[in-house]
């Protein structure tokens, strides 16, 4: 039974394992997806850490930067290098490459959130098992939602330099705006548009107003549906000039 199941998903398992291996070898990315937030939380350790709300900003940063590098940038690099096309014909499935990449991000995000939480509980403030469990469970949806919000960028056609500037700017702006702690209409607007804000709001949803809860729920469903529709349509050829 187990062997039969393995044979059925032989290619899927192989492509997942190789992508996980590639992701774990890219150690440089962990400097700013994991070590940087650990460093920042250490610098801010004297600030108010009485509730988990302070933690969610770091979780949001970890999730979005990991998906940004591991999913968005990785798929774009793969496609623009021409290797995406070669790989698709070798493994016979474009969707499997994309899906396994997202699964890899789920694993990496879980590992990073776990390590981050362990660091916080050892050196800053004790985190309850409930917090660990909450981080584990919510991060699945947070990772998928974060990837879904970025899918549209895979369809942008422009010059390579302009594209690099665009996504670099969106990334920096996204972090900067998260740090603003927006309120009112601005908070709603940024929740819809800024992945960092959206993921933060998702983590803190149990403390949000009914309107914000409704907005987060609707946007989550909408983004996941759009991504599910768009992702299989991604071209295997270059988009950037």
């Amino acid at each position: 039974m187990g062997r039969g199941l393995y044979l059925l998903f032989e290619n899927d398992v192989a492509i997942f394992m190789i992508q996980l291996k590639i992701a774990l070898k890219e150690k440089f990315y962990f400097v700013y997806t994991l070590l940087l937030p650990i460093f920042m939380v250490f610098l801010n350790k004297n600030l108010n850490f009485q509730d988990d709300g302070s933690l969610y900003i770091y979780w949001s940063y970890i999730v979005v930067t990991t998906v940004f590098n591991g999913f968005l940038i990785n798929i774009i690099r793969l496609r623009e290098s021409g290797f995406f096309k070669t790989l698709i014909f070798l493994v016979e499935s474009k969707n499997m490459i994309l899906l396994s990449n997202i699964f890899v991000q789920l694993i990496i995000v879980q590992l990073e959130i776990l390590l981050f939480n362990i660091f916080v509980t050892l050196f800053i403030t004790h985190l309850s098992l409930i917090t660990f469990l909450y981080g584990f469970l919510t991060s699945f949806l947070a990772t998928l939602l974060s990837a879904a919000m970025m899918v549209v960028l895979l369809f942008v056609k422009m010059k390579q330099d302009s594209f690099n500037f665009l996504i670099g700017s969106l990334f920096v702006l996204g972090i900067a705006l998260l740090g603003l702690h927006p309120n009112g209409i601005l908070e709603y607007l940024l929740t819809i548009l800024n992945p960092f804000q959206m993921i933060y709001e998702l983590y803190i949803v149990h403390c949000s107003s009914s309107t914000l809860k409704f907005l987060i729920g609707s946007c989550t469903i909408l983004y996941l549906a759009i991504a599910g529709f768009l992702l299989p349509k991604i071209s295997i050829n270059r988009y950037l000039k």
Binding site: N11, V13, I22, K25, R77, F83, F89, L90
Partner: protein
């Protein structure tokens, strides 16, 4: 396998207009033409999931090596070959001596010629009906391109069909089938000997 009355436009530029290409099963078929003449477009069209050209296998039965593969991967050659060998379509193919000496080198550290040779070998490792190669000898020395073409001819010996693009004449044998892109409308398709006599290369 044939492509008939094929037209392709990029913005207002005509790449092909009512062009015809003919390919023979179980042979090496060259698409010969100058740079930017649209050779890669033909391969893309053959490999497209919604391709409706006559006689070509479905996308799942095609191996396709794109022209450029600059992706930086920290995996070693051994790990990459191991990955392809795990796929359901993998063939039991001996590891050539050319690759044995680089097994423990990371892909991103390989020199261009070794990288190209590895990529061609990875495509030979999978069992397909049709193999597409976009300028496999581009940027390689004659020695290295000869290694690649020797491998491609072993595919033909196994009754596989190979279609490749090139703008060089070095590795074409007189019996090979050639589609020479003369211009957007005129494609000369025949064995190389006859094409040569018509074009006086």
């Amino acid at each position: 396998m044939k492509i008939e009355n094929f037209s392709y436009y990029q913005k207002k530029h005509v790449i092909f207009h009512d062009a015809n290409f003919y390919f023979e099963d179980g042979k090496i078929n060259f698409i010969l033409g100058a740079k930017m003449s649209g050779k890669s477009i033909i391969l893309d069209q053959i490999a497209a999931e919604n391709s409706n050209f006559s006689g070509f296998p479905k996308a799942k039965e095609i191996a396709y090596l794109a022209q450029e593969n600059h992706f930086r991967i920290g995996l070693t050659v051994r790990e990459i070959i191991g990955f392809i060998r795990q796929l359901s379509s993998a063939r039991n193919l001996a590891l050539p001596s050319t690759l044995q000496r680089i097994l423990d080198i990371k892909y991103c550290d390989l020199v261009f010629s070794d990288r190209k040779i590895l990529l061609v070998y990875l495509n030979l490792l999978v069992d397909k009906q049709l193999y597409l190669f976009d300028e496999p000898e581009m940027g390689l020395s004659l020695t290295h391109s000869k290694i690649i073409f020797d491998w491609l001819r072993t595919l033909v010996a196994e009754d596989k069909t190979v279609i490749l693009t090139t703008n060089k004449l070095d590795n074409i044998l007189e019996t090979d089938n050639v589609n020479f892109i003369k211009n957007a409308e005129e494609i000369l398709a025949d064995n190389y000997l006859k094409i040569k006599s018509r074009m006086a290369f």
